[in-house]
């Protein structure tokens, strides 16, 4: 191993012919190397010492030291994990927050008498699964939960039992002070406070991330909880009144795309999602897709105005139903005469709408609906979002039925977002559940001209003034809208008695900011409605009452509906060749 090193005394002259100076140098080198070796030994000794100290410290930490138990470590993990930001509404009112609770755990490894422990715990928690608990306490685990989120009373009772080997961890539990009011928007969390539905799931990472814990800033939604309560209240009342199987409602800011309120019936309590049925958890506003019926006539007429295929003066023959193969297109409120375009909208003529759509043409109809966002899954900050059902291939017959909202199924949210450009001046804006900053300019895509949008506003006002939507009228709020009554598709056809009745309203029609949609699923007529269950009789009054109650809260100034300016702004001719007013 030791390299034979030329030694000065032996190799001098004979082998390498070195000079005296070099020999001296080699002596110095040897000296240097020896110093190096001696000092290297010291360095090595220091390292030995370091490694020994490290090993000793490890033994000390794990074995000798009465270190933190499993409970302490779980506490550290839960403390870091349990932070979850609050959720507030657009005015800062609390929608979701946390309360501190105690959770009971056991350390089976250090437990002495498991059977006694289980027997004692059962006195406090009579419903506990004794067998399962016993198995877990007899296991070799260092940590197991006994029960989560105890009440202070239960905690005191467990403390009084004096069982060794159990302990409490501080945990937080999510609570929703508003109960059911915005359940489908907020969603709910699981036992470990992980978001499982709604905004809680969509923003899960943001709500509980380290940034959230640091900033402590709540998540602010676009929802106005006061208005939300009104919408849910009115919808629930209508569902009960008309014995409907469900309902959906949305209030939408057509300028910003913000969802102000969103309700789905039947609903659930976010505080106890475990007790809810699948039907209750289902969000009809975003996840459910429906054939919306006649409300789609607004899109049909807007497309005709947009492409210039029909003008307001044009008339269509609505005397006879249209027969296409085995299909027949009829009018519910049949006038059996030629109708102008405003009349077709006002009286909700299926025949007329189908004929208008045929003039627009299949391809342009599809393109127009696509630009309104009705043919693709909408963008909204919820996990529960349904994709629309769109015909493929899109034949002539589809064009005709889609003209009055059959043969295509979209969600109520999409309907709201699709209507927005028709009344806000022609711009499609992205929908959101998050409050937009004050004064933020929302960049949208122009879909129709301001003129077309203006005409659509007049037409919608006409429906409430003179047509099928009279029951949505609220004095002072100049409501406009469109009814929809779809026969629900069943196996092999449409059920004449199972209806999806809806009303799309906006107010005030001179400068509408809010859109209100109410939908009732299979409402039954009552004596008061002369057994009618159509949109005009069931859903329109709901929107009317919502607007009457929410309008003042939303700060909408009432208008004098009889003033000349308003008359002028809402002026529209329903007769061919004659300029008349729709009042």
């Amino acid at each position: 191993m030791n390299a034979p090193r030329p030694d000065a005394t032996h190799t001098y002259d004979r082998r390498s012919g070195r000079t005296r100076a070099q020999v001296a140098l080699e002596g110095a080198t040897k000296q240097a190397v020896e110093t190096g070796h001696a000092r290297l030994l010291a360095v090595a000794a220091v390292f030995v010492l370091c490694f020994l100290v490290l090993g000793g410290r490890l033994v000390h930490l794990t074995v000798l030291r009465d270190g933190p138990g499993a409970g302490a470590i779980a506490q550290a993990v839960s403390a870091a994990d349990s932070y979850r930001a609050d959720i507030v509404d657009r005015n800062g009112l609390l929608l979701a927050t946390n309360v501190r609770t105690a959770s009971l755990y056991a350390e089976p490894r250090i437990m002495m008498n498991q059977d006694e422990a289980v027997a004692k715990l059962a006195t406090v928690f009579p419903e506990i699964d004794k067998k399962d608990l016993l198995v877990r306490l007899h296991s070799d685990k260092s940590f197991t939960w006994v029960r989560r989120h105890l009440t202070p009373k239960q905690q005191a009772a467990v403390n009084a039992l004096g069982i060794p080997g159990i302990g409490f961890l501080d945990e937080t539990r999510r609570i929703y002070p508003q109960g059911r009011a915005a359940a489908h928007v907020l969603g709910y969390v699981g036992i470990d406070n992980e978001g499982l539905a709604g905004v809680e799931k969509a923003f899960d990472a943001q709500l509980r991330g380290p940034d959230a814990a640091r900033s402590k800033r709540p998540l602010q939604l676009s929802i106005d909880i006061r208005v939300q309560h009104i919408l849910r209240d009115e919808l629930a009342r209508a569902v009960t009144n008309f014995r409907a199987i469900g309902g959906a409602g949305i209030i939408y800011d057509v300028h910003s795309g913000e969802v102000i309120a969103m309700a789905s019936m039947p609903d659930f309590d976010s505080n106890a999602p475990g007790e809810a049925t699948a039907e209750q958890l289902f969000n009809r506003v975003t996840l459910g897709v429906y054939e919306m019926g006649s409300t789609f006539k607004a899109f049909t007429i807007a497309s005709a105005l947009h492409y210039g295929t029909s003008g307001l003066d044009d008339t269509f023959d609505a005397t006879e139903p249209i027969r296409v193969g085995r299909y027949q297109i009829r009018d519910d409120h049949a006038k059996s005469r030629w109708l102008t375009v405003p009349e077709i909208f006002m009286y909700s003529s299926n025949i007329g709408a189908a004929k208008i759509a045929m003039e627009v043409g299949t391809e342009r109809q599809r393109l127009f609906l696509q630009r309104l966002g009705l043919l693709s899954r909408p963008d909204i900050e919820l996990p529960e979002v349904g994709a629309p059902m769109v015909p493929t291939p899109w034949r002539e017959i589809n064009t005709m039925t889609i003209a009055f909202g059959h043969g295509i199924a979209v969600s109520p949210l999409q309907t709201a977002a699709g209507f927005a450009p028709l009344i806000n001046g022609g711009v499609r804006v992205p929908s959101t559940l998050i409050k937009r900053p004050q004064g933020e300019v929302v960049l949208g895509e122009r879909v129709v001209s301001p003129q077309t949008a203006d005409t659509m506003r007049r037409l919608m006002r006409l429906v409430v003034e003179e047509g099928t939507g009279k029951q949505a009228a609220v004095k002072g709020f100049l409501v406009g809208g469109k009814t929809g009554t779809a026969e629900k598709a069943t196996a092999g056809g449409y059920a004449r008695k199972a209806l999806l009745s809806s009303f799309v309203a906006a107010f005030p029609m001179t400068d509408p900011r809010y859109l209100v949609i109410a939908i009732l699923d299979e409402p039954k007529g009552t004596k008061a409605t002369y057994n009618f269950a159509t949109g005009g009789w069931t859903a329109a009054p709901v929107t009317g009452r919502v607007i009457a109650r929410a309008g003042p809260l939303l700060g909408v100034m009432p208008v004098d509906e009889e003033s000349g300016d308003v008359h002028k702004a809402m002026l529209i001719s329903t007769r061919k060749g004659r300029s008349g007013a729709a009042f």
């Binding site: 191993m1 390299a3 080198t29 290297l40 100290v53 490290l54 930490l61 550290a76």
Partner: protein, 392 residues
């Protein structure tokens, strides 16, 4: 298994019979341990920062393969080539090190990383092993020429590296570089009163770091008095060992990795302690101890000053880094961003360590002939020497 006759004098065969195979086995075991631990520790970190679960595992394996190739390849070099390549790497790394100050990517408040052709590299990692070799060369020049200004040149090299490190700032790296340099100077025969003087300066430097770098001050405050601030990582790491116990909670059963931001890097030892227990943690300590002490003990028999100094520098670097990292994990030292060699996740660090280990293996190979056979470095034949002397 490859077989080579002892009379086979090809490079590979020569290498096979002369390299310290025990040391090499230990290094491969270390690399394997690192792969397992990155697999254990990194998935929660990956999930937290939003990359796919096995992001770090895959990348670490991708780094490990070329790293082991570098390790074996470099270990075949002769001492002369070790020296030559180290000079190139050293000056390349120093240029890049200064470049980080101008065009570095700022991550967590320091500009230590450089984006080169799509790869993010940390030049300071490559500076460390190369500097150990270059400084050893300078110090060993004294044996050829007693008049050679070895100590001033070594000091100049130290300042050359220290300046950008302190500007980045990367105090941990600066500390290791200084300590390795100091050990090499010490071995090279620095008079003991200067050793004592430098120790005083070192302490003054530490106090200076405390005074001038707020993050250093805050870390030390928190070490001395954990309640004075957020000592979350260290406390959690400490709890991890207690939780793991003798045999650990079992792979994947640990919980600290879910809350330690640096579970896959600086605090990977705590994850090992929790999931695999005291026995495994002691095994890791023993593995590092074996590598460092075996390396140093082989150098005890080395008669060439350059090899003695370079080897000591390389092994001391690994030893220091592992001791500091593990010391922080068990709260014997204040929190300091330092990777555990070959085990922590990190591309630059893994590759640079492979280079250093390669040098170390190359230098500790058994030699029947003097190290400089065929290239005797006399004073007259070393151009650098002539230049430096001329400049004086």
């Amino acid at each position: 298994m490859m077989t080579f006759g002892r009379t086979d004098r090809s490079v590979v065969s020569d290498w096979w019979w002369t390299v310290d195979r025990w040391l090499m086995v230990a290094l491969f075991v270390l690399a394997g341990t690192g792969a397992i631990l990155v697999m254990a520790a990194s998935p929660p970190v990956a999930d937290r920062i939003g990359v796919d679960t096995f992001h770090f595992v895959r990348r670490q394996i991708v780094f490990m393969i070329p790293a082991l190739m570098v390790l074996v390849g470099v270990s075949m070099m002769s001492p002369l080539w070790v020296r030559r390549s180290a000079v190139i790497v050293f000056f390349g790394a120093v240029v890049l090190l200064f470049a980080t100050l101008v065009m570095g990517a700022e991550i967590k408040g320091a500009t230590r990383w450089l984006n080169v052709a799509g790869f993010v590299i940390q030049p300071s990692e490559f500076t460390k092993p190369a500097m150990a070799v270059v400084v050893a060369w300078m110090l060993s020049q004294r044996q050829n020429d007693p008049g050679f200004p070895a100590f001033p040149v070594a000091l100049a090299l130290l300042l050359l590296v220290l300046t950008p490190l302190l500007l980045q700032p990367d105090i941990g790296m600066a500390l290791v570089v200084c300590a390795v340099w100091f050990i090499q100077m010490f071995l090279a025969g620095l008079p003991l009163f200067i050793v004592a003087g430098l120790a005083v300066i070192g302490m003054a430097g530490a106090v200076g770091a405390y005074a001038f770098f707020p993050h250093v001050a805050s870390r030390i405050d928190r070490f001395l008095d954990p309640s004075s601030g957020d000592s979350f990582q260290v406390t959690t790491s400490l709890n991890a060992f207690g939780h793991g116990g003798l045999w650990g909670t079992g792979p994947g059963e640990g919980v600290v990795k879910q809350i330690l931001p640096d579970a896959h890097a600086d605090f990977i030892f705590a994850v090992a302690g929790e999931e695999f227990g005291l026995v495994f943690a002691l095994f890791i300590v023993a593995l590092f101890a074996f590598i460092v002490l075996r390396g140093l003990s082989r150098l005890m028999r080395e008669t060439d000053l350059f090899i003695l100094l370079a080897g000591t520098g390389l092994f001391a670097q690994v030893g220091l880094q592992s001791v500091i990292n593990m010391g922080v994990n068990v709260s014997l030292l204040p929190a300091k961003g330092m990777t555990l060699p070959f085990i922590s996740y990190g591309g630059s660090s893994t590759l640079a360590l492979a280079l250093g280990f390669g040098y170390a293996l190359a230098l500790t190979r058994a030699r029947a002939t003097p190290a400089w056979a065929g290239a005797a470095p006399t004073a007259a034949r070393t151009p650098l020497n002539a230049v430096l002397r001329g400049a004086r």
